[in-house]
Symmetry: C2
């Protein structure tokens, strides 16, 4: 028997968008579209470029543009815009991480770290063109097998 | 017939972690754990608090701590730490967004925007305690029905 009110919302169970900030969107495209091979959803001038990552969207924003309040008559999208290195992590298998490390090295892209956590999960770290710390890690870092759905 | 080399990695098809920065982790816990009801995975002192969101993890970091290089002998986790308002978006249905709006209003939490995009998808916006722009939106903002898996 539940004591939650009938109007209680269902738990938030999925991320739809994650954001990073890169002042140079052309450099961001060369990296996220070129080196990482993500599928671009849209680019809006010097404001943003968005990529699909499975059922979610990676938003790359130029903070100089997104910090501006919406124009009169435009949709009231709240301004935002962080500065300094952020963080994002993609999921991949151990074998996949090995292949991504090879891909990055072939592209001349520096690897910053590649290690296993105490529970055995592997994490590979590198920087995007804005200095954000990008990671590719095994889901078992957080979730037992079969539990990450 | 594929021309990709045999060693090409599989496409990056899932976000494992998204990060936001909140200098006050107790305020972050009251909001993300209390108001939004997310399940906490771990808290490490004044450095971070992590929450499960489906098959992904929302990382809330205190940038003053994560900007420090790893201690000697510690795992070589690269430093990072952004300042200023970031952005994150959770997925929910239109009816779910209505219930989340009620929950936020009942908690006395201001709503910053609530509108529909040109394709009809609804987005609700509010701020976390650090000023990050948090959104709850319908997946059809980005994906056709049945395509968001």
């Amino acid at each position: 028997m539940s004591h939650a009110p009938a109007s209680a919302p269902a738990p938030l169970s999925a991320l739809l968008e994650a954001a990073l900030y890169c002042p140079d969107l052309d450099a961001a495209e060369a990296f996220y579209g070129g080196v990482l091979g993500l599928t671009r959803l849209t680019r809006a001038g010097d404001r943003h470029v968005f990529y699909r990552v499975g059922g979610a969207v990676l938003l790359i924003f130029n903070p100089a543009e997104t910090a501006k309040p919406p124009s009169p008559g435009a949709l009231p999208v709240p301004p935002h815009g962080a500065r300094g290195p952020g963080h994002l992590c993609f999921a991949a298998s151990d074998a996949g991480i090995t292949l991504w490390r090879q891909r990055l090295e072939e592209a001349g892209h520096p690897i910053e770290a590649d290690f296993r956590w105490p529970n055995g999960a592997r994490s590979l770290y590198f920087r995007d063109p804005a200095g954000n710390s990008i990671e590719i890690a095994e889901p078992r870092l957080w979730f037992a097998a079969g539990e990450d759905g």
